[in-house]
Amino acid sequence: MSLIEVRDLTKDYRLNVKKRGLLGAVQSLLVPEYKLKRAVDNINFSIEKGEMVGFIGPNGAGKSTTVKMLTGILSPTSGSIMMGGLSPHKDRKKNASRIGAVFGQRTQLWWDLPVADTYDLLRYIYRIPEKKFEQNMEMFNDLLGIQEFMSQPVRQLSLGQRMRADIAAALLHDPEIVFFDEPTIGLDVVAKEKIREFIKKINAEKNTTMLFTTHDMLDIEKTCKRMIIIDQGTIIYNGTVEQIKERYGRSRTLVAEFAQKLDRIDLPAGVELIDQKDNKKYLKFNRDEIQVSGLIAELTSKYNILDLTVTEPEVEAIIREIYEGGIDFDKGISGDSKKSLSEQYCVPC
């Protein structure tokens, strides 16, 4: 059995339907009417101990909702979550001492106090032994450089500093499982890199199990082997990052710089001109159908070419295409088929 087992997990939010006008106001007071919004729709996945899994999807896909259920904040509408034999919601207190969570959009530090004070409080809350506390503080300082702003009130920290402090706070008690909900949001490239390095290191050294939501594909590529893509509440992909490149990243772009500006060129079937700039032309083709060497040979025989480069698509671009519906997953690879969003009306008795 895996450390985290999610079975048929569904979450409906209940939205109050407010009616217009005075009569409507009275009516919704007496007979409140709700609209159900399905945020997570029957998802299944499991995560092994020590695994690091990326959890991505467009805005409103249901990532945060899933993380809230995994951390025990929300109860599932149906389905189950098992975390090493415990249910995060029903055994909330018990489970809480072995998990950690970072919500990038919000801080868990005391706003008006130095970071050190929050850490000190957490030491009591999680009953962290003195020695372990000091070891961890030292390690976090080496990797995240928190010492430099330890005595500054949190409200004076930059976003990057605050995020580092927050991540350290979530990991102080050596949790077995850590959930990151957008831990790199709003950070610059250097700060992001620092956090990725840190997360990787903790995962490697302490064998911590991690689930990581983000909108930055680089985060996933650099830290996780596996990723889960969720869209409109359903999982549309669950597999390795490599596999997605392998299967869906078959297009190649050949950038050819010609000696002079050409108004039109003859292209073999299957090659598409997608862009042009000055003397450069961007030619897209599928590597399974067309051989690069053949294409280059054909072009050089007809035209005077100065420079040639072939590029693979970035995972980022593949993901974008998936979000936009350009790629259809076959059931074989992702397991779940895409379902339409269900919205129902109901009036409680």
Binding site: Y13, I73, K93, K94, S97, L113, L121, I125
Partner: protein, 278 residues
Amino acid sequence: MEHKKFSKLELLKLSLKYSKLNLKCTLEYKFDRFFTTLAVFVREMVSIAVMYLILTRVISIKGWQMNEMFFLYSFLFLSYCIFIFLFTGIRDFDNMVYTGELDRYLIRPLGLLYQVISARVDYCATIGHGAVGVILFLSTYNSVGIDWNFRNIVYYILALLGGVIIQTSLFMVSSCFSFWAVRTTNLRNLIFFNSRRFAGYPISFYPGIVQKMLIFAVPFAFVSYFPSEYFLHKPDLSVFWHGCLYLTPVVGIIMFTLVYIFWRLGLKSYSSSGNSMY
């Protein structure tokens, strides 16, 4: 990490830790917090001055002397001061829901109500109201003719704590609505502080409907009037059932029990509906 239940002692220590951090926060803005405290103090003292001016013209109403009125008034301030000191979090609960602080408490291995209560202390309101209460009490406890023997002291403490729990329950009812993303703070303040103003005078002054309200709906009569009557035995008590003198802690405990059930219900709903306030 193995989870062991927290012992009472550990929870108490942790509460002290929270209070210390709150004090540190308060001192972080010494200047501003000092004036907040002063503002609370002055505001309440003004209401007492107004009462004083009115009473000096009437001399006594229904047999109540000025010092007796102030003794009654001191119950309101002292119990409110203790309520704020212990349960600021309940007063500020809707804000915790709104800012998502509540979600943070839910990922900690501690009880939710414990954290709500421990996490905040409003020292300004505690000191502001406390100072008024202490001044009123010290200037009257001797002159109203109370024999401060052991039995009376025990009664006094129990009545004060009962009053604290009654006010806590009233605030908590309103907090519970936050679980359903319904903000009732303004309604609560309207009801609470106006009832409290009524309760600054002996309830026998008022028409029957107001009396009933202060006994059955917003039972402030048990916070100030009945405990004072226990000590003062004014003739106007005769219209009320005598047992009321001893009911303050009972009313407090019953109210709190009911409200606590409501709270559990609210929490359940919160975790199933999420929270659409942010």
